[in-house]
């Protein structure tokens, strides 16, 4: 009797121990996030004592080491925006199209080959994408379009778009798999063919899930650094065309942080850019989360 009690007691305490360990692991990412936010604010905010927030965001000139220095990040924000829009034009059709094919059309054997292949794209380090862009894509576009340099917004968009395909594709495929089988069966039963079923039933039903996939893909593109540093050209101008070089926010931080003196205005300005980037992707992720939740409710998949 006594021994049974003892066994169960040790089991309970052991279970408690495991619970605590896993709780600590789960909460540790929260601590990291908090730490990052605190540092971003602590190191980024001091810039606003020398430049006003309005001037920082809407200033058209980025000359951080010049005397007198100018810290206007509008060209950098627009650089990020242009490259992101361009990349979305590449990765939405490719990613969602691939997901539709994989989930709705491909037979299991083809799927078994295609799906891992697409996922391999995600595991290629971004510097290799950058190198590929610099050595292959940029010279190719330069000759094809007869532009002065191939290191431009278009090249960056193409490469970033391809980089985001795996994430959009696999999340969109998840969204498609949440659409109940009965929806499709009902559609076929009404005499709809496969194309009609995909465009009028499956896609709308998975719509918000696919939007989530796209938004998360966008976060990935906005935050991508190495590739844009290598292929976007790096000119801090307000972009006028896709065929001109530009400089996204991430590339600026990467290029200049290593040589900015710690504690200088330049250093704080780079952290403030980081803050802007962080807030942007945070908003994207929140939107994705909200849409994702609604969509589960709509399909009766509330969890």
């Amino acid at each position: 009797m006594k021994s049974v009690l003892q066994v169960s007691r040790t089991r309970v305490s052991r279970e408690k121990l495991y619970k605590t360990i896993f709780a600590v692991l789960a909460f540790s990412s929260l601590i990291f996030l908090l730490g990052i936010i605190i540092i971003l604010f602590k190191e980024g905010l001091p810039i606003f004592s020398s430049v006003s927030l309005m001037k920082f965001i809407t200033g058209a000139f980025w000359y951080p080491t010049h005397e007198p220095a100018e810290f206007g990040i509008l060209p950098l924000i627009l650089g990020t925006l242009w490259v992101t829009v361009g990349a979305m034009l590449v990765c939405i059709p490719l990613g969602v199209g691939a997901a539709l094919y994989l989930h709705e059309i491909a037979n299991p054997r083809l799927r078994a080959i295609l799906k891992p292949t697409i996922e391999i794209l995600a595991s290629i380090p971004s510097i290799i994408y950058g190198f590929f862009g610099m050595v292959v894509v940029a010279p190719f576009l330069q000759n094809l379009l007869r532009i002065p340099t191939g290191l431009c917004a278009l090249t960056a968009s193409l490469i970033l778009g391809i980089m985001a395909v795996p994430i959009v594709c696999s999340l969109a495929e998840d969204a498609l798999s949440f659409v109940p089988r009965s929806f499709r069966e009902a559609s076929f039963a009404l005499g709809a063919n496969r194309w009609q079923t995909i465009t009028r039933v499956t896609l709308p039903a998975a719509g918000s899930g696919i939007s989530t996939a796209i938004i998360l893909g966008m976060s990935r593109i906005v935050g991508e650094t190495m590739t844009v540093l290598m292929v976007a050209g790096g000119a801090a101008v307000i972009p006028k065309s896709m065929l001109e070089p530009l400089r996204p926010m991430t590339a600026t931080i990467a290029a200049e942080m290593g040589e900015a003196v710690i504690g200088s205005t330049h250093y704080h300005a780079l952290f403030a850019i980081g803050l802007v980037l962080f807030l942007t992707t945070l908003v994207f992720n929140l939107i994705a989360e909200v849409i994702g939740r609604r969509y589960r409710l709509k399909l009766g998949l509330d969890r």
């Binding site: 000139f61 000359y63 951080p64 080491t65 010049h66 005397e67 060209p75 610099m134 940029a138 010279p139 330069q142 002065p148 340099t149 191939g150 290191l151 540093l229 290598m230 050209g233 790096g234 000119a235 801090a236 101008v237 001109e244 070089p245 400089r247 590339a251 990467a254 290029a255 200049e256 290593g258 040589e259 900015a260 003196v261 710690i262 504690g263 200088s264 330049h266």
Partner: protein, 270 residues
Amino acid sequence: MKNTTKIIMLSLLISLGLHAAEKAKIRMEGSTTVLPVAQMTAEQFMNINPHVTISVQGGGSGVGIASLIEKTCDIATASRAMKDSEIKDAISKGVNPTAHVVAMDGIAIILHPSNRIDNLSKEEIKKIYTGKISNWKELKGADQKIVVISRDVASGTYEAFNNLALDGEKVRKDALLNASNKAVVMAVERTPGGIGYVGLGYVTPHVKVITVNDVACTRQTILAKTYPFSRPLFMYTNGKPTGEVKRYLDFVLSKEGQQIVTEAGFVGLK
């Protein structure tokens, strides 16, 4: 048996500890341009003097100078002279920066090999980089847009070029930014209308080095300072160097050290 192992381990540990205590340490930090010189001379110096450890870090001229002022390094390497503001800051913190010129470097102006132009005046280069000239035909070249290729604004090479060639004026906004000397060379290689500037040591056969004011960028012209874009490379110490730091600097300036400087692609002082 076990005891013997213990004794051996212990004696090993003790000897390691003693050894570490004997070792003198020199911390060097700063310019990425000077980095190869610093690294190669440090390695050779440590080969000859095994009791000295030299740690070499990049980060940029500004970072090295800031470290010297904060007393977190013994030698700051720099590809530009210290600014007045930095010297003031140093003195206010009780640091007395002392400059040692360890090598000379020339900033070569490079073009795509297909470009007809072989010489530009200093004034023309300034006009190109500040955006007053945007087509090669204005300089009797082909009718081709000039693609201005520059370094990231935080680099010492940029600052040196900015001072020597542009007299502190701003580089045109749409200049391409590259994060390293090698990237500039690569970009010029692939851009028929391109113009770039790099340290002499980074020039490759795939780009064309032009003369500036009809002076070629060579070791002789750089040493004689007739080439307009020559600059000294510095190592800064706090006050007059003493002990191992002094011995290391003497080594860098010795015949052997200057040989290494030349091997690293710079111009030795001797």
